[in-house]
Amino acid sequence: MFPGHGGTTINAYLARPVGDGPFGGVLVVHHLPGWDSATKEITRRFAARGYNAICPNLYARQGFDVDPDDAAAATRQAGGVPDEQFVGDAAGAVATLRALPTANGKVGVIGYCSGGRHAFLTAVSLDVDAAVDCYGAFVTGTPPEGFPLRVTPLVDRTPQLGCPLLGLFGNDDQFPGPEQVDELEAALQAAGKTYEFHRYDGAGHAFFNVDRPSYRAEAAADGWQHVFEWFGRHLEGA
């Protein structure tokens, strides 16, 4: 539990390595389906690799005891999580990581699906040291008419990006499609930002998700290698 946006208490899944550290921290942002087992498993994966990792429940306002899928459905019906609320919750999670006695002071953020957009939003809004956007839609591009979530593109905020950005995308994805990834890359170049993109043929949306038919082992394995190289490079001791 920690204070999120507006001082509201929200819950989170925290996974830590054994030992005195110091360890870098990773904020894991869950996907649109919510604070589910798959994302908690990802959080444990970071701990197993020597990071303090936290995954806040962005749908906690639906209730702490609500099933993640029910909370996701209710949040979807309500139009999604407002960006301002997410940034407040992310700030609370980053502060929680930095306050851990084993923290080295550095924090990275990674997110999947809607969490990929949230990772970018974190990196343009908060003081973090590295970011990873895994197929986050609507960093660029405008949601189609009738889209149930009230989201707006973030690309205009690229100049405020305060840390290096790693992007991992499937070329068969529609949200974000390759042309939207191109647009983000052009914006990063124009702003002179440090970034690295990897795009995978034969992979669509959610290729990291081992529980789903969208899983693509080759892309996921290569992607994980890049993720750990990225955090290894940018989250080493303070």
Binding site: L32, Q62, D67, Q77
Partner: protein, 86 residues
Amino acid sequence: MCSYLTVPTDIAGSAKGPQGWFPVTSAQVYFDHPFHAPFDHTLNIDFADPARGPGARVAVELSADSARRLVESIQAALAAAGPASD
């Protein structure tokens, strides 16, 4: 971000969830990534009573083909019932 158009509709009736029967007042219909069904995308329907909280929900995730067959079945059943069947 992995979702498409949501088509909500008001409904009147009941559904049975883990806590037993409860009235349902809305159906959210959308084609999106499922939580459980082994397909990339499914036709999802949430039968819910939002006033009772997020847990008052009965969810189904159907392949596109089976969803179309279900629509035909519903239409056939309602047609057999006749026009004054409320």
